[in-house]
């Protein structure tokens, strides 16, 4: 079984935000919620680097560990999903997540946040695959259709890779061999610690 992973090649990302647009469109993500965002370091300076970030679908997911209602689950493909019918919008997953992935529709007095929303690796949620109910709550389920996340599919420079971690790592390894320099699998040591799938 594949272990799905994201990898963003910082040498290739040009901060076009195509992945962000693809994600918003494919999943009908509500206004103000960013399942994916591009962060630029040293913006406007020599050596500027951009990286596209979303939920990294961690092996030992901190969000799942702190959730008071235990609404997270990991699919057989290693994708971390959650059940919005169980979520109470407490915000704990947002405190715990290293990548700032969990998003909420509101931020109001008395802790009102609404149900958490995050990147699903285009794998929908616990409802029947590709049903209207699933689409409304979680967005597209491309994985059930045999497709990969649209953000990576649409990436114009192929900086963002999504898919089986072994294949992704292989593609990246070949790039490094060709262009030289050190590999920088950004976020991998946080999301996928050594020795754990």
């Amino acid at each position: 079984m594949a272990r799905m992973k994201f990898l963003c090649d910082a040498e290739r990302c040009i901060e076009c935000n195509g992945c962000v647009v693809a994600c918003k469109n494919e999943n009908e993500v509500p206004w103000g919620i960013n399942r994916r965002r591009v962060i630029t370091l040293e913006d406007g300076l020599p050596g500027e680097k951009s990286i596209s970030v979303a939920c990294m679908h961690c092996t030992d997911a901190p969000c799942a560990a702190v959730c008071p209602v235990d609404c997270f689950y990991t699919t057989a493909d290693g994708i971390v999903l959650h059940d919005k019918d169980l979520c109470i919008g407490c915000g704990y997953c947002f405190y715990a997540c290293p990548f700032g992935a969990p998003q909420y529709p509101q931020r109001e007095a008395f802790g009102v946040r609404g149900k958490m929303d995050k990147c699903t690796f285009c794998a929908g949620g616990p409802l029947p695959d590709n049903s209207d109910a699933e689409y409304e709550k979680y967005g597209a389920n491309r994985i059930a259709q045999g497709k990969l996340p649209l953000c990576a599919e649409m990436c114009s420079t192929k900086a963002l890779l999504a898919g089986d971690g072994d294949v992704v790592a292989d593609i990246y390894r070949q790039r490094i061999l060709k262009r030289g320099g050190r590999p920088k699998t950004w976020g991998w040591e946080t999301a996928y610690p050594e020795g754990e799938a």
Binding site: I39, V66, V69, D70, Y95, C97, Y104, R107, F110, G111
Partner: protein, 364 residues
């Protein structure tokens, strides 16, 4: 042909003039370029100093290390919960603290408090009056004070139950209620907790202000503390004012740890709309949970002493009146003050009536 000396001299002058002009021209063009040499030499020297200070540093490695340590960047995305750092490390520390010590030690604190109270009750039993009840009643708590007490008491119990549900529900209640069942309870809990919290805080603030005058420590409180409030001996009744030293400690714990620690950290968590950072909320959450559990544990002792532990105490807070004998034994200093007319039965409220003084109150 011999050239005249004048002609020779003129030729030489012309040569000298030509060369001088050329030197001036070349000089005026070349000398300003010397600035570049100066800058270049300076730069090279600085670079050499730099490299000799930090031999073998890879600037790219430093760059990614900074990112790993939470360096922030720029993002064009905007949203309520959109952050601009690539990796936030505080989350893992918070997770380890909350799921570690906070979740693992606090149940034992509560269990230890309950066990200690149960053991004390079994060994020493309730403290009864040494003398006979007189049947004459004295006003212990006014209607307003009782309202205030029960207002905060009821809210406290609701907050404790809902708060503990959030902390231990996944471990304790999910196996009982199932995931969907517990989710309904948790949703109700968090809503109640978030809306009741500030109302409770208002009650606590009023209590602290209203009850502050008689909760300052006096010299006789030392005697009370030395004799441990007479807890372990049957007819031991150390002196106490309107509140005894134990109640004063309870008061001050609430005014400090409770009000400043639990209530303020609660507000930080309750109002995310002010845009406090995740780091602030992580700290507030750990403080809130651990201090609140300590508060609950001490409240067990308060509830025990107000009900089972001391005969005749509960009616002071339910009906407002206690027996004169109870007052004499448990709050001797206040009893004397009321009796001699130095203090009203309601201290802090001038001009209250003598109708409640011992002997004049109607028999119960």
């Amino acid at each position: 042909m011999v050239q005249p000396a004048r002609q020779v001299a003129r030729k030489r002058h012309a040569r000298i003039m030509l060369w001088s002009l050329l030197i001036v021209l070349a000089g005026s063009m070349l000398l300003p370029l010397g600035g570049y040499v100066y800058v270049a030499v300076n730069g090279a020297q600085a670079a050499e100093r730099e490299s000799s200070n930090h031999p073998g540093v890879n600037p790219r490695a430093n760059y990614w290390r900074a990112v790993r340590e939470g360096e922030r960047g720029y993002t064009s995305a905007s949203g309520l919960y959109t952050t601009d750092s690539l990796i936030q490390n505080g989350g893992e520390i918070w997770r380890e603290t909350r799921n570690g010590p906070v979740s693992n030690i606090t149940p034992w604190v509560l269990a230890a408090a309950l066990l200690a109270i149960a053991l004390f009750y079994l060994i020493f039993g309730p403290k009864t009056l040494s003398g006979e009840p007189t049947g004459r009643r004295m006003l212990r708590w006014t209607a307003g004070e009782r309202l205030l007490h029960w207002y905060t008491a009821i809210l406290f119990i609701v907050l404790a139950i809902t708060g503990l549900s959030m902390l231990f529900g996944r471990a304790v209640l999910v196996p009982l209620l199932g995931l969907p069942g517990f989710s309904v309870w948790a949703e109700l809990s968090i809503t109640l907790h978030n809306y009741i919290g500030p109302l409770f805080m208002v009650g606590i603030i009023i209590e602290v202000v209203v009850w502050l005058p008689f909760n300052t420590f006096k010299s006789y409180d030392k005697v009370w503390l030395k004799r441990l409030g007479g807890m372990f001996r049957k007819d031991d009744h150390p002196p106490a004012g309107r509140t005894n030293a134990g109640e004063k400690i309870w008061f001050w714990l609430i005014a400090t740890l409770g009000l400043i620690g639990v209530c303020v950290s609660g507000l930080v968590l309750d109002f995310p709309n002010f845009g406090q950072t995740r780091a602030t909320m992580q700290l507030a959450n750990v403080l809130h949970a651990s201090l609140a559990v300590i508060w609950i544990a001490i409240s067990f002792g308060h509830i025990y002493l107000g009900t089972l532990g001391l005969k005749g105490t509960f009616q002071g807070m339910s009906k407002g009146y206690v027996d004169e004998q109870w007052m004499k034994e448990h709050h001797s200093v206040w009893y004397e003050q009321v009796k001699s007319g130095q203090a009203e039965a309601r201290p802090g409220e001038a001009g209250q009536q003598a109708a409640v003084r011992p002997g004049t109150a109607t028999p119960h």
